[in-house]
């Protein structure tokens, strides 16, 4: 009988985390730079006397660490690695302007004497992605500032008017019960129901999404609303030329942290360190399956 073909692992195809309670998958990670399960063990030696060698050796701890190099950011990674489930939005045919909220003072957003809301009236195609700051210029006028020009050319081109990121050339007049457009930005302010009377230098902020097929929002770092769930993960190797496949089912995994890289001219790669630990139900830490299909 000839020797068998050697068993080998080649590449990585996917990592599929799953819910340990229901068994359902969170999703699949396929844009991977690598995935390795490091099982580094420790040998404890008995030394003493004149012997230059160990009298005895016993096995010590094994550190089961799963390293994932991920180059994609689906919603579930924020839940698993940063402790907060995102809010996913479906397609928005008219874009979205978030609720405006007072930042400094309380006169800018006011039901009767300020602005009541931001509307996506006008040309929705002009909506530009970013965060907006509204600053009261005088009792009935205000200036608008915009966080980044990355999306400034969407629809009608916008343009900064100052180094402080102001986008309106002249302070915009707010009228009682009327709407005031921000030219070229697809947005309008709704004036309060009474005589407008804001306090100069008060500010408010809001966020805008352009017309989109999908979007996501998540706030990370809550002091009371963060949960890092334990999960299972199926790590699948690339299928080899001889069809051989290698699968690891990490039964109980926990990871904390998700690097978000903004590097010049490169895709972000998150290197995630996860700990694999004992699952008492299955009396194992992980399970290996391999197959050589015929």
């Amino acid at each position: 009988m000839a020797l068998s073909q050697p068993r080998a692992i080649f590449g990585v195809h996917s990592v599929s985390p799953y819910n340990r309670t229901t068994g359902e998958f969170y999703g699949i990670l396929k844009v991977l730079g690598g995935s390795s399960l490091a099982l580094s063990g420790e040998l404890i030696e008995l030394m003493g006397g004149s012997s230059k060698y160990s009298w005895a050796v016993e096995d010590g701890r094994i550190d089961a660490e799963l390293s994932l190099k991920v180059r994609e950011y689906p919603d579930f990674v924020f839940e698993l690695f940063l402790g907060k489930s995102p809010t996913a939005n479906t397609a928005e045919a008219s874009g979205s302007a978030g609720a405006i909220a007072n930042k400094k003072g309380a006169s800018c957003v006011h039901a009767t004497t300020g602005i009541t809301s931001v509307l996506t009236t006008g040309t929705a195609a002009d909506l530009k992605f970013g965060k907006y700051v509204v600053k009261v210029a005088s009792a009935t006028t205000l200036d608008v500032f915009f966080s980044s020009d990355a999306d400034m050319a969407r629809g009608t081109n916008g343009e900064y008017q100052s180094d402080l990121l102001k986008i309106n050339a002249t302070a915009l007049t707010i009228t009682s019960g009327g709407t005031t457009a921000i030219p070229s930005f697809g947005l309008s302010f709704n004036g309060g129901s009474g005589a407008i009377g804001m306090t100069t230098a008060d500010t408010a902020t809001f966020e805008v999404r352009p017309i989109s097929s999908k979007s996501m929002t998540v706030s990370i770092g809550s002091s009371f609303d963060s949960t890092f769930p334990e999960f299972g993960a199926i790590i699948m190797s690339q299928k080899r030329g001889n069809q051989e496949m290698f699968e690891i089912d990490a039964l109980r995994v926990k990871a904390v942290g998700l690097p978000l890289g903004f590097e010049e001219n490169s895709f972000s790669e998150a290197e995630i360190k996860a700990k694999c630990f004992y699952d008492s139900t299955q009396d194992a830490v992980f399970k290996i399956r391999t197959v050589s299909p015929t």
């Binding site: 005088s138 915009l172 009228t175």
Partner: protein
């Protein structure tokens, strides 16, 4: 400053204009609705630069409340 022959023509309530009659029934001079300071109205398609001393009689009524709050008149 406007000069008219018929006093009744000047009664436009929302302007709250004041009247100075130098010679009753003959010559009437209006004062009021004169900008006391510079101001710019920039609202949708409407844009108006007001300079101190400008006559405000052609300002649309919807902006008069703003001008009053801003103490333009």
């Amino acid at each position: 400053m406007l000069k008219k022959k018929n006093k009744a023509e000047y009664i436009e309530p929302f302007f709250e204009a004041t009247f100075e009659v130098s010679e009753p029934y003959t010559t009437t001079v209006i004062s009021g609705m004169i900008a006391k300071k510079d101001f710019i109205i920039c609202h949708n398609e409407y844009f108006k630069t007001i300079k101190a001393g400008d006559d405000l009689s052609d300002i649309p009524e919807m902006y008069l409340q703003n001008l009053k709050i801003e103490q333009v008149y």
